[in-house]
């Protein structure tokens, strides 16, 4: 059973953080303990989906990376009510949104190996069933390391030629890094597209399993990251689809 799952996309704007929050919530709805680490230190964002802002974020992943606290000290319980009712728990380890902290990371860098140690410690110390890593778009050292320690990798892309090319790079590296399971997830597919055709094309291009092809719907756009879609619209076809994808990833 995969414990550590990296969610990645080669380019920004694919809906990676949104998808991470939705997959995490879908897993937690089974009464599981799920952690999410925002390793997108340069452009953090997933905390927004769980209603966090600068005000209620006293500690962040950055503090751990600077050696100022333990990794578990940076974990916030952000379990949304429907997940709580189902007996699940969601922990979020956010990255700092303070401009000074982001500047410090860019200027000084940090010991990436420490991040890897922290991720492993989180799984043990918070007794997590699953840990999802929301990675920085593109390939950098922390993304490669995250992929390497993951039991499964989900690569998100849009039906767009720039995404297609970039994704090929990620897929090639992930194969060489021998990640045990890899899934492609096509997101933000316009309603005019034939989803089955898209699935076939993507599967053939990368010779990899396509976990899902998700249509861009008005409801998702209107929600504008104001919450976790799957929990707010549990009966929407997209929500059902994402729940199926979550089950597939951890099968």
């Amino acid at each position: 059973m995969p414990k550590i799952i990296s969610i990645h996309s080669f380019r920004g704007g694919t809906g990676k953080s949104n998808m991470t929050a939705n997959i995490a919530s879908s897993l937690a709805l089974h009464g599981k303990r799920v952690g999410i680490v925002d390793t997108d230190i340069q452009s953090p964002g997933i905390h927004v989906l769980f209603g966090m802002d600068e005000e209620n974020m006293t500690r962040a992943l950055n503090d751990y990376l600077w050696g100022e606290c333990l990794i578990e000290d940076t974990a916030y319980i952000v379990t949304p009510p429907p997940v709580k009712e189902a007996g699940g728990t969601i922990y979020l380890i956010p990255s700092s949104i303070k401009p000074g902290e982001i500047a410090r990371v860019l200027r000084e860098g940090y010991d990436v190996a420490r991040l890897i140690d922290g991720i492993r410690q989180l799984v043990d110390r918070l007794k997590l069933d699953y840990l999802l890593i929301d990675t920085h778009p593109g390939l950098n050292e922390e993304t490669l390391l995250s992929i390497t320690i993951s039991d499964a990798l989900v690569v998100i892309l849009r039906p767009d030629n720039q995404d297609y090319q970039g994704t090929a790079v990620t897929v090639e590296l992930a194969r060489q890094l021998e990640v045990p399971k890899m899934f492609l997830l096509v997101n933000k597919v316009p309603a005019a597209f034939d989803r089955e055709q898209v699935r076939e094309k993507v599967a053939k291009t990368y010779n990899a399993q396509v976990a899902g092809v998700i249509q861009l719907t008005d409801e998702v756009v209107r929600l504008a990251s104001g919450g976790v879609f799957c929990l707010l619209y549990p009966d929407h076809p997209v929500a059902k689809q994402i729940r199926g994808i979550a089950d597939l990833i951890v099968a």
């Binding site: 190996a113 492993r120 050292e141 390391l145 390497t148 590296l173 060489q176 890094l177």
Partner: protein
Amino acid sequence: MPASTRDDLAALVKATKAAASPFRTYLNQLHQRFASVKDGKPADYIPELARANPDLFGISVVTTDGKTFNAGDTAQTFTIQSISKPFVYGLALEKHGRDFVNTKVGVEPTGDAFNSLIRLDEKSKRPHNPMINAGAIATAGLIHGADSTDRLKQMLEMFRKYINHEPQVDVSVFVSEKTTGHRNRAIGHLMLNFGMIDPNVDETLDLYFQQCSILVTSQDLAMIAATLANKGINPVSGERAIEARYVRDILSVMHTCGMYDYSGNWAYSVGLPAKSGVGGGIIAVVPGKLGIGIFSPPLDERGNSVRGIKVCQALVEDLGLHIFDCEAKASELMPV
């Protein structure tokens, strides 16, 4: 994909896998655990070694598939000292073959200290083994060349293949060893007296002092050890440093004679071919798997690095590396 891109990609993948390996975390913990050990003191027979900072401590491991793991002061240079001995022995074997070298230096452990003077087997006209100073000087005498520069060049070229970069000789340590090396000079001349080595003994002693003064890091040591573990081929460059058939000669003398008068105890408790130097270095070889290089200047009374010994003992225990351990389970920590 062009070959260069493939190489870059392969190197990136290798580095990433090493960094993500639980072994890296383990090595850091090992470093933390033994950094607090304050026993022993640096060698003091020359001021250059006595000045070594006793807190410096580096642990490096290189696997036979070229993954490199470092913890602590692994880029700190120090002089290789006696760790050079098995490799010059290897070079002599390549130049002259096993039979001839066997007539010049034996393979019998003496149980004596590293600087023992008197054990020269007059009957066989050869020192007992190439790991004690007498044997190492006799071995250096087998590295023939046009002149002293040529002899040094050959030796440095041999070390380059093991460490994968140009080796440097620490001039102040060399001069210091040369001007105060009365005991080694005496050993050399005594062997000359018995007809055990060639007459150009002063040139040979210079070469010996130079070989001991080569600067290395713990990472270099791990690379050297990994090259032996990898049948004589440097696992990162792919270059052969020693003919495969002589790897067993080197490892055998390391196993029986590598740790001075602690060799028997070492073979029993650690069970890995190893070699220590008074500069604070230790190498240990796990054939087919990995090479270990440790640097920590404080030595015990036998001239072996205190922390170096402890680290090797812990690695053997935790990973089940003793070569004769038939009950060792494959450790999850094993980086290969």
